[in-house]
Symmetry: C2
Subunit: 367 residues, 2 copies
């Protein structure tokens, strides 16, 4: 076990003191910020998440605010998803691409007004991309990172807990929609969203002084719901087929390869960057795509460098996330598999660091 | 001590296996990549660095390659430093700024040819900024992250070790200049540079298959020089006044505030982004500036959230890096101090997490 070195550059959050008091055992770093990765253990954290309710410090899902007359035009320029029909307060999952159609991020955009968007980013500096585009292209917008820190409430008892703290209105929020709800007199955006398939909400805290009071209020109200501190859980997210930018897809991959073709409109018509490359790929289909894999044997080690996937000794893909699923009683994984071998059920071999293993291509999600 | 969670997103390097075999105790994350932070202890690592020679895995200093007819124009657009006089194979420290004159990075640029630059970046996605500017502004360039991984050789015996592995030619490299030298038949860029004041080189490895052979060759050749694995050392870098982007200055600070006014030319004449803001600040002078601080008392804890600096109860600045210096027998720190209080020798108070302490403003470097 290697420690994480403390410095200002790996930013703390309004909740870090509470997270540490709750016994966080491992951190990752995401958007230059600390993101808890383990409290008790991956397995125990996962079991609890599926049964009860957890409070997650996901402040690292930083917002890039794009505001001004050209805001919608700039957001549309970055993504092949058609954003023209979005309603105010709607959340939209929008792959962002570069001039080659390579993915730069896979954020959730929130349309706050016709001329104001928050882009809730995965782990890359979308702020700098948007600033570069705005400056280079002369867009009439401001591009900033507002002081918004997201606290997620996840798990099957999320509705009950949220109703107790934010009022019964919270129950009525539809998936990927949001409402402005009050906590201690301050209105903040609350969406039904989050990086698990167990149900839940994300609270866009807009006053850091309310961070610890909000955390404490959720714990006080949820004692009988068995609330505890949690975090995005590797087991649950792989079982649920939730992709992780930087892990499962990178700038080397198009949205089609990442299995996100359903979010791609006609890039050329939309005026999206990388339209040529994306249109070609929409025509030919991707040569490889995101898949699940069931990997045989004992629990796999953590995946850092991608693990080669082979058939008859030939490379046919790679595994980028892998973990033991105690519920499915097998190792579950996410990887990219070449077209000739991506059919679910295809037998492949995975070169894990502790040796070769038999594996089988699977559909996502696993569960 | 909190562990760092392993995943592909926190990229390993060609040297990670060697770094782990050498007993790395703590990592930080830098440009989405692992950067060792401690081997034996901050103090022991520092003492060794000042006496012998160390091999550092600083692969995280990623390169942004800007190539094509408009390369120089695009680089100049991002920085207020005049790059027009740079020689081929010269290294240039260039603050990068946004439309407000706020710092986005403080990389070293290497001019490889009139139409080809590598920007060796601090911790932010300059790749995305440059891509955004290039796409938005229609520059005729390609912007990519080449597979270059830097291995640094640092410490007073660096010249001896480098001469043994790369030939006597290495000794002749001047500060912030580079040469293309051969290792096992492959030519790679070698510069006299690095993130310490103990002297040394940075080797721009351009073939990952040669990573472990290069590491091993340096250790084999340096056994009698007491070579060991090291990393940028917090004690040495604060004593030496080496700034850390993301720690000591951020997008909230101009280059002038960061004490980098000597690298700023006439931004308006140069056509640099943020010229209005920079020209204003060049005229008025910054309202706060980077300073050293000597902080009294026992060894301070690690600095995560900036520590307020006060005079008579009024906020006059903040500390962003702080550590015990065993050589200077005091705590040394770097922070931003308001103009009225930034004179060296000014008595201030620092609110460290374990209590208030007397401190004194100092010039950088300390040693």
């Amino acid at each position: 076990m290697t420690a994480i070195a403390i410095s200002r550059r790996l930013r703390g959050t309004p909740f870090t003191a509470r997270v540490e008091a709750a016994g966080v055992k491992a951190y990752t770093v995401y958007n230059h910020m600390l993101l808890p990765a383990v409290f008790e253990s991956l397995e125990a954290d996962c079991r609890h998440l599926k049964q009860h309710v957890q409070v997650w410090d996901v402040s690292c899902e930083r917002q890039v605010e794009i505001a001004g007359p050209d805001a919608a035009r700039l957001v549309q320029r970055m993504t092949p998803r058609d954003i023209s029909k979005a309603a105010v307060d709607q959340c939209l999952y929008i792959p962002l691409v570069d001039e080659n159609g390579g993915m730069l991020n896979d954020p959730v955009a929130i349309k706050l007004a016709e001329d104001r968007y928050w882009i809730s980013i995965a782990d890359s500096d979308v702020l700098l991309y948007a600033k570069g585009l705005a400056i280079g292209g002369g867009y009439d917008v401001t591009v900033e990172e507002p002081e918004i820190d997201i606290l997620a409430v996840q798990g099957p008892k999320s509705d009950d807990l949220m109703a107790r703290v934010f009022g019964e209105e919270a129950r009525g929020i539809r998936f990927f929609r949001g409402l402005w709800l009050s906590f201690e007199g301050t209105r903040m955006y609350v969406a039904r969203s989050g990086y698990s398939k167990q149900g839940g909400f994300e609270i866009y805290l807009n006053d850091r002084a309310l961070g610890e009071p909000l955390w404490d209020a959720l714990f006080a109200a949820g004692a009988d719901l068995n609330v505890r501190a949690g975090c995005p859980n590797l087991v649950e997210r792989v079982e649920s087929g939730l992709l992780s930018y930087g892990n499962d897809m990178t700038r080397e991959n198009t949205p089609y390869e990442a299995g996100l073709g359903r979010y791609c409109g006609d890039a050329a018509l939309l005026g999206c960057i990388g339209a040529d490359a994306l249109s070609r790929e929409a025509g030919s289909g991707p040569r490889r795509m995101i898949r699940g894999l069931r990997i045989s044997g004992e629990a796999v080690p953590a995946c850092r460098d991608p693990w080669p996937v082979t058939v008859g000794g030939e490379g046919v893909g790679q595994v980028t996330s892998a973990v033991w699923s105690h519920d499915l009683k097998t190792n579950v994984a996410i990887g990219m598999i070449d077209r000739a071998h991506w059919e679910p059920g295809t037998a492949v071999r995975v070169d894990a660091p502790d040796g070769g293993r038999e594996a089988e291509v699977a559909t996502l999600p696993f569960a």
